[in-house]
């Protein structure tokens, strides 16, 4: 398993990404969509951190801000010891080979006028001084790694199926031997039978190349398969960050609990108690005062509507942002996770 004493590869501290809203004749800024509103987490080398949440919760924005595809509003991101958010452009460019991204829609993220070899080779042209022959060799090597037939090197993206296009996107992300890859919903656009192929490929590559992933997805069962730890986001903030098995066995935050209970399972005999949340997610331009989840939470009480709960460690390795959980009251018994009791307050 992973060694907790190793310094994390990625460190995120109080990251904020606000998008301004302009309105009126003078297009003055009248507000901001707080897509990501102060989140902190670490990703250890070789680990896969799952980032889950519903659409609009800010999970993709986190992925993009992390490798500075957006200019973050505030906060700090360090990847392999280098601060990303304030890095000057030329230094950032030199840093890019270490951090790559696999996008959700392989149709939109591959240039339709470039051949497969040109797409996979583009990062090599930009960042290396390989001769054309050596470059082609590397392209073939990458195609082998992701399971694309070398004969296809001169074909165009539209000639491939969705699953194969995603393989092209992965090969391009691998071209420069990155340490860290942000996978932004890499399987969401694929059919069920193809999803497993791509997930298996990502896992094989991780084992072979020692990659670190941030795996962004709304598919909770797939995240359970691939992630070591999982962060659950709601309205721009992390509400729970726990080791995978702990989260799925017993989610602590009421939103994480509701989210997991809402996933339909392919077993007609599994009639678990479903928590049906009322209403919709509030607008991130005008989030509720206090806890962001207070408008839909089945366990809401007065304090939730006035104070915003901080993300605190409530059990070894488990962080929760909820007033129901108080860190001081967790008895630290050494008899294994079954003994960890969490004091509930207020309800």
């Amino acid at each position: 398993m992973l060694d907790a004493t190793v310094a994390p590869l990625v460190q995120v501290r109080d990251l904020k990404m606000h998008f301004p809203i302009h309105s009126g004749v003078l297009r003055r800024q009248t507000g901001a969509v707080k897509a990501v509103d102060g989140i902190s987490f670490d990703i250890r080398a070789g680990e896969t951190l799952g980032l889950v949440g519903e659409s609009g919760c800010g999970k993709s924005t986190v992925g993009r801000a992390l490798i500075r595809l957006y200019e973050p509003t505030a906060g700090s991101v360090t990847i392999a010891g280098d601060e990303i958010t304030t890095m000057p452009p030329e230094a950032l460019r030199k840093k890019r080979p270490q951090m790559q991204m696999v996008f959700q829609d392989p149709q939109a993220s591959l240039n339709p006028r470039m051949t497969l070899a040109q797409i996979i080779g583009e990062p090599l042209v930009e960042h290396t001084t390989l001769s054309p022959d050596r470059r082609l060799e590397r392209i073939y090597e990458l195609m082998d790694q992701v399971g694309l037939n070398r004969r296809f090197a001169n074909r165009y993206p539209h000639e491939f199926s969705g699953g194969q296009r995603q393989r092209i996107g992965i090969a391009r992300a691998l071209a420069l031997n990155p340490k860290f890859i942000v996978c932004d919903e890499p399987i969401a656009a694929l059919d069920v039978s193809i999803q497993a192929q791509v997930v298996n490929l990502l896992e094989d590559l991780q084992d072979r190349l020692g990659l670190t992933y941030l795996f962004i997805s709304h598919d909770l069962s797939m995240v359970r398969h691939i992630a070591d730890r999982v962060a659950v986001m709601y309205l721009g903030r992390i509400v729970e960050l726990s080791p995978r098995d702990d989260l799925y066995a017993r989610p602590l935050h009421p939103y994480a609990e509701a989210l997991l209970s809402a996933v339909p399972e392919a077993d007609p005999e599994q009639k678990g108690q479903r928590i049906i949340l009322k209403g919709d997610v509030p607008s991130p331009a005008n989030p509720p005062k206090g806890c962001a989840f207070c408008t839909r939470c089945p366990k809401v009480f007065d304090r939730c509507r006035s104070d915003r709960p901080a993300l605190v460690e409530v059990a070894p390795g488990r962080q929760v942002a909820c007033h129901l959980f108080q860190p001081q009251t967790v008895p630290n018994t050494s008899n294994g996770p079954g003994e960890t009791r969490l004091q509930q307050q207020g309800v």
């Binding site: 059919d191 909770l220 996933v263 919709d280």
Partner: protein, 329 residues
């Protein structure tokens, strides 16, 4: 389940092709199924398996050309919908067969108020006056759980959230109290917590209204939760059909078996490696003369490559189109 009673909808040997510049695509081949009164039939399959094309063929919703319904019968209470005139078909659409599509934003008209869009089928099919239609539309909005229904009548679709829009679509589809509701991936565009709300709503409406429902989805979990029977489609044909409990417990077709294993579980043991179905679904440029799943099948043998298997009964109400005898595990 009402057994032996005449089905509301009986589809026999439906065949639909698309004419494209690069030749004909045989999207749906000899699909047969029936739907009992009050039953919920789940239809699963990947994109391109023909599940949506099948359902759209039933009431002539495909643009012709390029589509062409080339054969079969669609019997609604004994009347063949493929033989009747367009005006007769238009009387049936919306009135006796309701449709809910995947994306409520593109299926609602953005420039009309939601209230007018719900009243439209009521005025067209039910012969109600405007005032009566308005009252009924408000009732419908209340039925699908839209708060403050009377006030929301004058809202436009963009003023609703995704889940609320899908509720409006359901209200429109239910407006004329149809016998059959066809829902084409109605929750695919929604988040899981909103999907759970809609699934709950549909369960409730079934009990109240008792219509038969065809629910198209690629999500086996959704089927497991709401359907009575399930029909699995692959490569434009039905590969397996049966009661949900039976098919999930004893899947007989290698595709169904693989599909059930390829989805990781949310509970219980966690596999180290996902079982993947290698290869790609077929592109049907001709009517298949072999099993469409043969190229990806774990149990393929010589016969599968020369003869497309017919559906055969395993048990009463459970049939499979496969040459291979699945061990009853």
């Amino acid at each position: 389940m009402p057994d032996g009673a005449a089905p509301v909808l009986d589809v026999r040997g439906l065949k639909t092709v698309f004419r494209t510049r690069s030749g004909e695509v045989h999207a749906v081949n000899h699909v047969s199924f029936s739907l009992q009164k009050g039953e919920l039939l789940g239809v699963v399959g990947e994109s391109g398996s023909g599940k949506s094309v099948t359902m759209m063929s039933l009431v002539g919703l495909l643009p012709q050309p390029p589509a062409e319904v080339r054969g079969g019968q669609v019997l609604l209470d004994g009347r063949d919908l493929l033989k009747i005139s367009l005006p007769e078909l238009q009387d049936i659409r919306g009135a006796r067969v309701g449709f809910v599509f995947q994306d409520p934003m593109t299926s609602l008209n953005p420039v009309f108020k939601v209230g007018d869009q719900i009243m439209e089928p009521l005025l067209r099919h039910m012969g109600l006056t405007k005032a009566q239609a308005r009252t009924r539309a408000i009732e419908l909005l209340e039925l699908v759980g839209i708060p403050d229904a009377a006030a929301r009548m004058s809202s436009y679709p963009h003023q609703f959230s995704g889940g609320m829009r899908q509720r409006v679509m359901i209200a429109i589809a239910l407006a004329c109290d149809p016998d059959v509701l066809i829902a084409d991936e109605p929750t695919t565009a929604l988040d899981v917590t909103i999907q759970a709300q809609i699934l709950e709503l549909v369960k409730e409406l079934r009990q109240k209204l008792g219509m038969a429902i065809v629910w198209i989805t690629h999500d086996l979990g959704v089927i497991a939760g709401i359907a009575d029977r399930v029909m699995v489609m692959y490569g434009g044909q039905v590969v397996e059909q049966g009661r949900v409990a039976e098919v999930f417990k004893h899947p007989a077709h290698p595709y169904t078996r693989a599909l059930l294993k390829t989805v990781p579980a949310l509970h219980g043991a966690r596999a180290d490696r996902l079982m993947a179905i290698e290869g790609q679904p077929p592109i049907l440029m001709a009517e298949p003369s072999s099993c469409p799943f043969a190229a990806r099948c774990a149990h393929v043998h010589d016969r599968c490559r020369v003869e497309n298997p017919q559906r055969r009964d395993l048990n009463p109400g459970h049939d499979v189109a496969c040459h291979w005898e699945a061990p009853h595990a």
